[in-house]
Amino acid sequence: MAIVAFLIKRLMQAVLVMLVISLIGFSIQDNLGDPLRELVGQSVPEAEREALRDRMGLNDPFLEQYWRFLGNAVQGDLGISYHFKRPALDVIADKFPATVDLVIGATIIIVLVSVPLGCWCAIRPRSWLSRVAMGASIVGISIPVFLTAIFLIYVFSVNLGWLPSFGRGESLVEIVPGWTTGFLTWGGLSHLILPSIALSSIFLPLFIRLIRSEMMEVLEQDYIRYAWAKGLAPRRVWFLHAFKNTLLPVITVGGVQIGLMLAYTILTETVFQWPGLGFMFIEAVTRVDTPLIIAYIIIVGLIFVVTNTVVDLIYTLVNPTVRLVGAPS
């Protein structure tokens, strides 16, 4: 019963957060420029403007307009981009696959590097590799992601000329209609390498430290001592008994970080001129393309809320010892 109550509470909270985000989005619309001027220009006489305002409902009370905005938003209508002259949601759907490619690329690098390195640092904390990794991780935290990106471009594109410095390239493969990926051709992959490394650089130190400290904690537990006492092979103790139990907290933190990654995609995409959501958003800001700005805020807010809710739910389901937030303790 408690789990159902928790579920309902969590979902209601998610809806509430989305309402707040949409309210913020809507109030931006009211304050950023005059939608009428964007549509008809300056030359239309005042009387005609007023009539148009009335017809478009721009003179209605705030709440009524907000309600209409919500109704449209739920039906997938977030207005028409001033710059692209197309529905804002279509523009976002166009840019979305590029950002997903980047996030997947960075996630692969993070998993492949931080898991072995984090485990090694926990198993052999005094070895030279662990010391180097720990030292490098504090340096890594101190370098802003856009500087890593610039450095990579300077070394690998400008000086060595090995990898392209901007864009996604031409050889993209369309896996389903409207969804392209760069993972299936060398041309696409070569464009993905530098941006993915840059994006992963900010999360690597965090994950290496997290996996290390979780694993160290687990290695102190009684059941690990017992496994040693049974005379199991070290590899079996480390990877079967210890590592499995460090995964849960790592996945929870990781799930939240995937949402955080979207913020850093803005920086990475700007440096690499990657045609994804983040670059689109910064361009929309420069052009004061209000509908697109609002659509971005709402979509990204939705992604945050969904990932956090799902991660929370999975965590409570998988780990029954956790106290349900909001349930009587």
């Binding site: 101190s142 610039i150 949402g259 807010g301």
Partner: protein, 309 residues
């Protein structure tokens, strides 16, 4: 303010200072940080020109390489940028702006976070639940994302010109408001631990009011975690400011911080003018690294329970 004095003598007599003297990394980090802060404060006297004053900039001096490269001039030891500004002066003034924003933003965070954390931890109940859920939600959204969106909206609403004048205040407020949960959570956790102790009961029994107990009795005992997160938070605030300026949402090129200097130089890195981006980047990274190393060391010293490293 008697407790500050007693606190200071306690600090000087504690083993913090002793361990500091024996840790070369901490001492080096502190020296680098102090040097940067000093250079930032003395910027007007150390630099050969005022990079904010258009009258002192000569466009004929643009893109001069550093002094040790062919074509370098002794008057511009680190070269000049695209507008003919001396890079060394621009970096010193930029450092100043970055540090000012970092420190003031953290003061905003601290004020908000300490008040909310104290009230939340001391009152408990509905107030506590409300603020902590708010903190959860805000942290889940990511500071950088909130700051980018907020500044983007302000920039679009104010127009680019007005925004340039207000940029420094907006950056302080936005970075300040975005990160209060870090403080609120830390303070709340210490308050919950302190609240159970007898001295709080004693204070309540002699009839002191809740605000007095919170500010005069509990707060002084939460100072060490406050100190630890403050160092890391200053580093974060400076990084975030640099990122926002890099995106064109922060300080304008006419009054550049380290981030806007890097951003301005990025366009010219492909044409060979590497020094415009490189020197501000080195300054930014060394400053943040020094603060982070110091923060790490402080955490180890003040929280012996935690793992080392």
């Amino acid at each position: 303010m008697n407790w500050i004095a007693t606190r200071m003598t306690a600090f000087l007599g504690s083993d913090v200072l002793y361990r500091f003297r024996r840790d070369p990394v901490a001492m080096a980090a502190f020296a680098v940080m102090a040097a940067f802060v000093l250079a930032a404060m003395l910027a007007p006297w150390l630099s050969s020109m005022n990079p904010h004053d258009p009258a002192q900039i000569d466009i004929m001096n643009s893109e001069i390489p550093p002094v040790w490269q062919a074509g370098g001039e002794g008057a511009f030891p680190l070269g000049t940028d695209i507008q003919g500004r001396d890079m060394l002066s621009a970096i010193l003034y930029g450092l100043r702006i970055s540090i000012i924003i970092g420190v003031f933003a953290v003061m905003v965070q601290m004020t908000l976070g300490v008040v909310i954390g104290l009230v939340s931890g001391y009152m408990g109940g509905k107030v506590d639940a409300f603020f902590m859920r708010l903190a959860d939600i805000q942290l889940a959204m990511s500071t950088l994302m909130l700051a980018i969106v907020a500044l983007a909206v302000f920039k679009a609403a104010f127009g680019a010109d007005l925004y340039e004048d207000l940029a420094i205040v907006m950056l302080i407020l936005v970075i300040g408001f975005a990160e209060w949960p870090q403080y609120a959570r830390t303070i709340r956790a210490s308050v919950l631990a302190e609240k159970k102790k007898e001295y709080v009961d004693a204070a309540r029994v002699i009839g002191l009011s809740a605000p007095v107990i919170m500010a005069r009795h509990i707060l002084p005992n939460t100072l060490s975690p406050l100190l630890v997160i403050s160092t890391v938070q200053v580093a974060n605030a400076i990084i975030n400011e640099a990122a926002l300026s890099f995106l064109g949402l922060g300080m304008p090129v006419t009054m550049p911080s380290l981030g806007s200097l890097i951003s301005a130089g990025f366009e010219y890195i492909l044409s060979g003018a590497w020094w415009i981006t490189t020197f501000p980047s080195i300054a930014l990274i060394s400053l943040i690294l020094a603060i982070n190393l110091l923060g790490d060391w402080l955490r180890d010293v003040l929280n012996p329970r935690l793992f080392k490293g």
